[in-house]
Structure formats: C-alpha cells, structure tokens
Symmetry: C2
Amino acid sequence: MSALAVALLHHPVLGRSGEELTTTITNLDLHDIARCVRAYGLQAFYVVHPYASQRMLAERIQRHWVSGAGGKRIPDRGRALEVLRVVPDLETACTDLSDGEPASVAQWTTAASAQGREVTTFAAARAVLEGTQQPVLLCFGTGWGLAPQALAKADLQLEPIVAKRDTGYNHLSVRAACAITLDRLLG
Amino acid sequence: MSALAVALLHHPVLGRSGEELTTTITNLDLHDIARCVRAYGLQAFYVVHPYASQRMLAERIQRHWVSGAGGKRIPDRGRALEVLRVVPDLETACTDLSDGEPASVAQWTTAASAQGREVTTFAAARAVLEGTQQPVLLCFGTGWGLAPQALAKADLQLEPIVAKRDTGYNHLSVRAACAITLDRLLG
C-alpha cells in the first residue's frame, strides 16, 4: 500500500461560467475532509491555496482545533484536524508527501464528468493502490472543479461518481465527492 | 425498487457527553444532503425539526435556492433543494412518503457504532431495497448521532461505516456519512 493523501485545490479551479478562478477557504471543507482522511487512514490532507492570507486563515482554524479551545472541547475534532497541512501549491504538497522527491508522486484527479479524457474505474484504481509503493496524491477541486490545466497534469483521472441508475444530476459537493471517493478506494 | 427518502433528525439526538438534546439547523447539511439525494435519485429529503422557528429557517433557505435569487444564480442548486421537505417529526415524514399510510414505512437507522444492536450489512440492505415495494426512510442524526429512543424504533439498523483497514477513528460528519451511505446503497 502506497502513501496516500488528499489535496484540496482552490486554484486553478473553475467558476460557474467555466472561467478559471481562485476560491476562498470553506471552513466545513477542512472539517469534513479531515475527518474522512483520518477515518480512512490517509497520510495527510493538503489544503492548497496560493494566497498567504487564506493559508493563515486555514492554519488559524487548525490551531483552534488541534491546540486551542476547540480541541479541548471536542478532542476527536482535534485528532482529525492534525492531518491538515496548509501549502501554497501542489509541488510543495508532493515534496512533503514524498520526503523530498516530488517527481515520484502520482497525481490522481477527480472530476464530475470525464470531458473526453481517459478515466480509470474505482475498482482498477483500488487495485493500483494496493499494489504500488508510489506515493499518490488525490486531487479535488473546489468551486466548479479542477481547471483543465490541473486535469492535464494528472497521472490518472478517476471516473466520475455516478449512481447506478441515471438520475441526470451529478453536482455533489466536494465534501461529499471526497467522502465517496475515499470509501470507494479504501472502504 | 421502493420509494426511498432521507430524514435528517435534529431531535432526539445525542450531545458530546451522551446527553439527549435538540440541535440547530446547519445550512450546509441542507445543501450537501439535498445534492446527494438528487444525485442518487431518492424521492425526498426530510429535514425534521420540532421547533417552528428552525423549520422556518430551513424553509427560508430552501426558498432562496428554489424560487429566489440563489436559484437564478445557480440553477443546479435550486434543482437539488427542491427535494427538501421540512417537517416537525418522523410521523409526518412517513405520512408524506407513503401517501397517508405512515405505518407502511420501514425506518432504517444509521449510527457510527453498533452499540450491541443487530445491524444489517450494506450489501444485504441493498438487496432488500432492490426487492421491496415498501417505502424506506433512511434516518440520520445530527449532533453525536441518533438517541437510543430513535434507534430503538428502527425496523433495520445499517452497519457502521468503517474503512477496510482499522484506523480507530470513525467520527465522520453527517454529511459525509449520508453521502457514503447513499453511494453504498445506490452507487
């Protein structure tokens, strides 16, 4: 089993008209995804944001829960938020996950539609994870999802999450998409 | 396939010391769970709250997205929030789901630990859903989960969600737990 981590990107992601933009930190993204990352035993949860002020906000939220009043009140939440690592870009996340060899990390992306790209089924991805020693970084986009330039760099793109029966609606929150992805890979 | 819906209970649920209490509405619970309910094709998402003021709040949020400014800005969010039905108690939800025959509804509960109760695996529950015509209401608790009196009334309790490998941590948010449950039953 490889070293596996989640990266939540706030740039480059899409806005609702398909434009490329940078989103702000959402408090409950940090909580929900950290709790999933902890529950499924991943190595880390990288919160990736290019703005120093937004990274400071994420770190302040983390401190509140890990060493501040929040963690005293709800220790289980502190244990979850310990997995959070706030970084300016994916390169820094890959360097951290691989102990200094960022090129060794496989970047896997997620998206709500295949958009003509070759995708890998969850069953196949699960088998890859079980057989590899290569560190894997699972990348999720906020806003309307990862921008094409982020998807283009991927070593593997996971198939979109869909229900067994076609409902014509696949607009899950990134929190729900991450929970389901981790469960399909590690549940 | 039966009529299937989600109920999110704010009472009776547990607080962090195991006491029974009533929680307040969380905005992102409504969004995330409505989006999952819509994506997996369930019939409705019942937001169950005993306080009229809290029900008014949930209905106001719904109006903003279904017929107000929110829906004009993000139509996909409006389509999701349409599935929301705000009710004072489970009985009202069951009456609505069954077109007036609440006793015909099977109440299924979810919990982060089995607590000595007999639980049904997701695989078995999935098979039940595919073979039955009985309406099924999937009940989730906010706070620290459904109180024992809510679990005691269940026709079926689903097994706790756990990772394949034991990580010793199972404190998922109700949003993540609902997403994973729907995916395991209908994904």
